[in-house]
């Protein structure tokens, strides 16, 4: 039994525990124990991974394990991690852990809520540890479907519409993805679903012919891109986020959207390198639009969740943008951006949820002077905002700098013009963030009801502080994590570059 499998096993045990749990306290107990275990496991994995790398273990994927699952179809249960997956696992564990505390007082049916929540996190963890395409796809879909019920039952606003739209769009994406996976599998000889074997042409796999690559690349990229909020397939994201309950928004924007970027890199670009070189310009334009358009849209929104959702579209667009630039620096930046955006958007959604829970409005225009009433939440909100617009010292800065520097390394005009355009989004981000923060927090509070509101409770403070610590940690000491990521990214990008 490989210890990576614990990432799936623990959520499974949590599901069992939740099933058996009676009463709210037992449910919370199961969740806290389970998510803490996951966090400890992810931390241990990170430390051990770094130690192994420092010890000179240069294998592509560490902790590999495999056993045959569906033998006639060459499908195996295969796990393994590299620097990118380790970073993502750490992120997921942090978000699940804090998400548990944020949903502390949710009603009704806390138990059922956590059941679906845990199923979702199982899908997420399973996705990041798997290196078999079938497994990856399976976990991907496991992570999508609980969203329908989580939003539909526990959401707010137009929840039925949003839940259905989100589910159908994401499932539509995965329909393309499934076709792409078949194409890659049979294009490479139909002998193995192992991603490493297909990329390295070992284990019975041979190179996929160029014409085939040009068909499967757009399918897989769009398939994952829908989840990564690729323009014009991003429209599920604002509605979905706005209607979802707080912790689900956190998990969704924080982790689930990263599945898209990770999948684009791990499957579309890694396995179809020639087509990636040939066709990336189409998607670069689309992601460029995502980046700028998302930021612009955020400027005109008045609902806090919509502002953050469009800002997510913009930031996730940057992730895909960095990946498509195909340089080591930009891709490392993209992975860092996934990490940083995951943390800060989770923080943002958590704070929005907490503020909404008190004021019962998310309309920026109806709130003023909240800083005096809830200073803790106010300060944290400012920190989240600054992280979002990329202030040095916080994680967003490191990530965005790497992406832009890496993108500019491409010497031709097309890439440079796009980079300059994407950079503009930072300015726009400053506009919507500062306006929102200024309007909401400062000034004199005029609403009588707001004067009686209380500041954060202990479990809310705990969740928020955890997230801020991570954001500041990455922002202040980025080198260990960025070198861990770039060690894993560099060989892949080199291989992709050589494939031309």
């Amino acid at each position: 039994m490989n210890f990576l499998s614990l990432f799936v096993l623990i959520p499974l045990l949590m599901l069992l525990g939740l099933w058996l749990a009676k009463g709210v306290k037992a449910v919370r107990g199961v969740m806290v124990v389970g998510s803490s275990l996951l966090l400890v496991l992810a931390t241990y994995l990170t430390i051990d991974f770094l130690a192994q790398r420092a010890g000179g273990n240069t294998a592509e994927m560490l902790y590999q394990a495999s056993f045959t699952w569906f033998e006639p179809l060459n499908i195996s249960y295969r796990v393994g991690v590299d620097g990118i997956s380790v970073a993502m696992l750490l992120l997921s564990a942090v978000i699940v852990f804090t998400g548990t505390f944020v949903s502390w007082k949710l009603s009704p049916n806390l138990k059922d809520y956590f059941l679906w929540f845990t199923l979702l996190s199982m899908g997420v963890f399973g996705f990041f540890i798997s290196i078999d395409m079938f497994m990856m796809f399976m976990f991907y879909e496991i992570a999508l479907i609980p969203m329908y019920l989580l939003i539909g039952v526990w959401g707010t606003g137009q929840k039925e519409y949003s839940a259905m739209k989100l589910t159908l769009m994401l499932m539509g994406g995965s329909a393309f993805l499934m076709l792409g996976i078949f194409g890659i599998f049979y294009g490479a000889g139909g002998q193995t679903m192992n991603i490493l074997d297909i990329a390295n042409h070992t284990g019975g796999a041979h190179a996929i012919d160029f014409a085939g690559q040009c068909i499967w690349f757009p399918l897989t990229f769009v398939g994952f891109g829908v989840l990564g909020a690729l323009f014009p397939f991003h429209t599920w994201s604002p509605d979905g986020h706005a209607s979802a309950p707080t912790a689900v928004s956190m998990l969704h924007a924080g982790v689930l959207m990263k599945l898209g970027g990770y999948g684009c890199f791990r499957i579309a670009i890694f396995l179809l390198p020639e087509a990636a070189n040939e066709l990336n310009w189409i998607f670069l334009i689309l992601t460029g639009i995502s980046v700028v358009y998302g930021a612009m849209s955020a400027c005109v929104q008045t609902d806090l969740k919509y502002i953050n959702a469009y800002s997510s579209v913009s930031h996730c667009g940057l992730v895909l943008f960095g990946i498509l630039m195909l340089t080591t620096t930009s891709t490392t930046g993209a992975v860092l951006q996934m990490l940083s955006h995951g943390l800060m958007t989770a923080l943002f959604f958590a704070l929005i949820g907490m503020i909404y829970g008190r004021t019962h409005t998310r309309d920026v225009r109806l709130m003023t002077g909240l800083m005096q009433i809830m200073p803790f939440l106010g300060v944290c909100f400012v920190i989240a905002g600054l992280a979002n617009l990329g202030l040095p010292g916080l994680s967003g800065f490191v990530a965005e700098m790497s992406i832009f520097v890496g993108s500019f390394q491409n010497a031709d005009t097309f890439h440079r013009v796009l980079t300059v355009m994407a950079t503009c989004s930072i300015v726009v981000a400053a506009v919507y963030i500062l306006r929102m923060v200024g309007k909401m927090l400062y000034g004199v509070c005029t609403d009588e009801h707001h004067l009686k509101l209380t500041d954060a409770t202990w479990e809310e403070r705990f969740a928020v502080i955890c997230l801020i610590a991570c954001i500041a940690g990455i922002g202040l000491f980025p080198s260990w994590i960025s070198s861990m990521i770039s060690d894993s990214v560099a060989p892949i990008i080199d291989a992709v570059k050589q494939a031309i």
């Binding site: 006639p72 259905m164 329909a175």
Partner: protein, 485 residues
């Protein structure tokens, strides 16, 4: 005559024995002499059928020594795969009997329950003959034996007008399609001079228009049984009008047997003109899946809804026929197994809800069902997710493998269309989930307790939905029989 060849028909004979025992037992057990009231004897058919299923599995315990067994000079052929299919049908029928308990408990039903069991088992026997046919005559007899008692079953609710209407519709279309089929068979006989499957194939030529016509007529006939578009028009009315247990039997068992036979006949008889057959099926599948999906979206009666869902599922089932590859056959049988678990699970819940709520079968009646019956809602959701192909439930695996088989056979566009349709189907399955979980209702179906038989059936279905996919043994086991066919 060598009577030992009857031994090769072990499963048929044992089913016949079950039928006769039930027939005789019915004379003594049907009414309680003292009170004059009807006495339920659900356990007897369930136990007998279970024993029969286990006996039938005996030759499969050691898969290496299974050889094709024939009887009557090749009219009857029993392959290992046929035994697997028959076993799946058996298990399905057991679950249908468990569903029926609550319905037969009604005062006016208890006196005629014996007929219910014997009629159902006779149709099952007919399907056995279809599955094991090696000769068109045997095949046709099986087909008729499976259709005619079915009409009586559909019309079983004597006082319901809908039930009678459904039966009339069913028998008329059944006869018409039998006529088509017979005409096709006669064309084959006319051009080849034989009706044995293995003797026909060498004489089939793609240039022979009469034989192409025979292919079309054959597909028309069998398409009726599987309810593929454009032979589906009876489906919605028959499903709606028939008693719910009969609907569940219609939607899974008779469909599954016919799909398997379709594959066998295409593979054995029409192999030389498989390209033409593929062309036909290309359009049949596209229309079946798409039209049924579009119609399903608009339904409010849940049985009618399941009818359209069944048509679209049949389209997916037939996807495995494309190319007639061994992988396709495995995919069909596996799909059938998974579909059976999920679909019967849904029908169990529909049936018990109908019985306990005084006949509520509209989707809008399920509003707020989660509040009052959380466990049943949860199980229903699992089954619906499995039907929609959501992991980790079995439906995901069966759909994935089905698409994989079709993709490998080279039908990429068809797979794409089918995949897009899975999104539409997800939409309408979610409509039921939405009704149960999200839409509030002033008068939800009140909380009720299910009886033991329903619980047992639900447990079996849930186990199937959860485990058949994750445990790869099922797929591998079926796969090892698909090569020799």
């Amino acid at each position: 005559m060598d009577y030992s060849q009857f031994l090769n028909m072990g499963q048929e004979l044992s089913l016949l024995a079950v039928i006769l025992i039930l027939f005789v037992a019915d004379l003594f057990m049907c009414t309680d002499r003292k009170s004059g009231k009807g006495v339920l004897n659900t356990p007897l058919p369930v136990i007998l059928l279970t024993v029969h299923t286990l006996l039938g599995l005996a030759p499969l315990v050691c898969p290496c020594c299974v050889a094709d067994a024939t009887a009557f000079g090749g009219m009857y052929v029993s392959s290992a795969m046929a035994v697997v299919v028959k076993t799946i049908l058996n298990v399905g029928t057991v679950i249908v009997f468990l569903t029926a308990h609550e319905w037969l408990k009604q005062p006016d039903m208890a006196n005629k329950q014996g007929e219910y069991y014997t009629l159902t088992l006779f149709t099952l026997l007919g399907m056995y003959f279809m599955v094991s046919a090696g000769h068109f005559l045997m095949f046709f007899i099986g087909l008729e034996l499976a259709s005619v008692p079915m009409t009586a079953l559909i019309a079983y609710s004597k006082k319901s007008q809908e039930s009678a209407e459904a039966a009339a519709k069913y028998i008329l279309t059944a006869l018409f399609s039998s006529g088509l089929m017979l005409y096709g068979i006669s064309l084959i006989y006319g051009t080849t001079g034989t009706l044995y499957f293995d003797q026909i194939a060498p004489q089939i030529h793609a240039t022979n228009l009469v034989q192409l016509a025979a292919l079309v007529l054959f597909i028309g006939g069998i398409g009726f049984k599987i309810s593929l578009v454009p032979f589906h028009l009876w489906t919605a009315d028959a499903y709606q009008g028939a008693p719910t247990t009969v609907t569940s039997y219609l939607s899974v068992i008779s469909k599954g047997a016919a799909a398997f036979v379709l594959f066998v006949v295409l593979y054995k008889v029409f192999a030389p003109i498989i390209d033409q057959a593929n062309l036909l099926f290309f359009w049949i599948i596209i229309f079946s899946i798409t039209l049924a999906n579009i119609f399903a979206v608009r339904q409010n009666n849940i049985k009618r809804f399941m009818a359209f869902s069944a048509i679209s599922q049949a389209g997916y089932l037939v996807l495995g026929v494309m190319g007639a590859t061994p992988q396709g056959l495995t995919a069909i049988v596996y799909y059938l197994l998974v579909y059976m678990a999920a679909n019967l699970g849904v029908f169990l819940i529909i049936s018990i809800t109908e019985q306990r709520s005084g006949g509520k079968v509209n989707i809008s009646d399920y509003d707020g069902f989660y509040r009052t019956n959380p466990k049943l809602s949860f199980l229903m959701t699992l089954c619906l997710f499995s039907l929609a192909g959501i992991p980790p439930f079995a439906g995901f695996f069966s759909k994935f493998f089905m698409f994989m088989a079709a993709f490998k056979a080279g039908f990429v566009v068809l797979v794409l269309i089918a995949l897009v349709n899975t999104v539409i189907s997800l939409y309408y399955y979610l409509l039921i989930v939405k009704a149960m979980y999200i839409i509030p209702s002033d008068e939800p179906i009140p909380t009720f307790k299910s009886d033991g038989y329903t619980k047992l059936g639900l447990a079996l279905c849930t186990l199937g939905v959860v485990l058949i996919g994750i445990i790869s043994w099922f797929y591998s086991y079926i796969d090892q029989f698909s090569f020799g066919l």
